[in-house]
Symmetry: C2
Subunit: 181 residues, 2 copies
């Protein structure tokens, strides 16, 4: 059993979804939440608010892996900087704890859960609801996206992450984990 925490990074809304992944594509829902920060607060306060929220969830759920959406600078430049900084913060939080980190692109996530890389938010939410056998669709979309990231990692990312990790990187993670635990 692997516990996977998915992060859909954002300063205004940051989705965090946790699932357990077993053998034969079995996945089960553990937790989902959307962290928010006040748009009027200074940037450093917003990052700290989201960071503290993420750390609380990690300490409570103890994931093995953190899967984060890979950010591209193709969208609105102002919002992408904040999004990149939240993603960087999540990477840092994972690295501090020696957790495995994986990045997945939005189209990899959509393809993994719906079979179609350009699926819309409604389709992603519907599939996440069905896959995790939830009573009602997770809201807002950031919550569903975070769970979709975790499912994507369970179904395709585990192998990819290890393929992409060198012996030195594995050794480094183990050393960090030992030194900080």
């Amino acid at each position: 059993m692997t516990r996977i925490l998915g992060v859909d990074p954002g300063l205004t809304r940051c989705g965090v979804g946790v699932i357990d992944a077993g053998s034969a594509r079995a996945v089960s829902f553990v937790d989902v939440t959307v962290l928010r920060s006040d748009a009027d607060a200074p940037l450093e306060q917003r990052l700290l608010t989201i960071r503290d929220g993420l750390v609380t969830i990690i300490d409570a759920c103890r994931p093995d892996v953190i899967a984060i959406e890979r950010i591209f600078a193709q969208h609105n430049v102002r919002s992408v900087m904040g999004t990149a900084q939240v993603a960087g913060m999540a990477l840092l939080v994972a690295a501090e704890r020696g957790l495995t980190v994986a990045l997945h692109t939005p189209s990899e996530v959509k393809a993994a859960v719906t079979g179609y890389g350009r699926a819309d938010k409604k389709q992603v939410t519907a599939m996440v609801t069905a896959i995790l056998k939830l009573d009602s669709p997770p809201k807002p979309a950031d919550a569903a996206d975070a769970l979709a990231l975790a499912i994507c990692h369970a179904w395709r990312g585990g192998d990819l992450a290890h393929d992409g990790e060198t012996e030195a990187q594995r050794a480094w993670r183990a050393a960090v984990k030992a030194s900080r635990s």
Copy 2:
């Protein structure tokens, strides 16, 4: 006397310069270093390496203010994401400690130290060397840029930062400082 730490953010090279600022534009050199991370390491390891280096300097120098270069997405998209993430990390480190944070654009920094917002790196380095009465120019350019950021803050940022800070933000910083010290 105010101790100011300037950060020229970057994943490959992150300049960190520390100065003391007194009355009547008096500034004096305290420390300068360039933090580096291995380009072959995973992103999260690189962020952690730069973060640990920055924290070590902050703990040793105990600055009152952290001045960070404001990042724009006008340059190379790939490198700007890493730069933004290092800047976000520095913001977070400052916020965790309740330190005052200021962002300055590259042209504000150049104008402050050379009188000309489009000065080149050589001019900035020469002025930093003269202003701080250094025996030799700080190298590489990232080191000079970090000191220039600190000087810029000393000469124009102090007032600006307070003008830009609301009563609530001041109260927040004081509360963070109290809770974490």
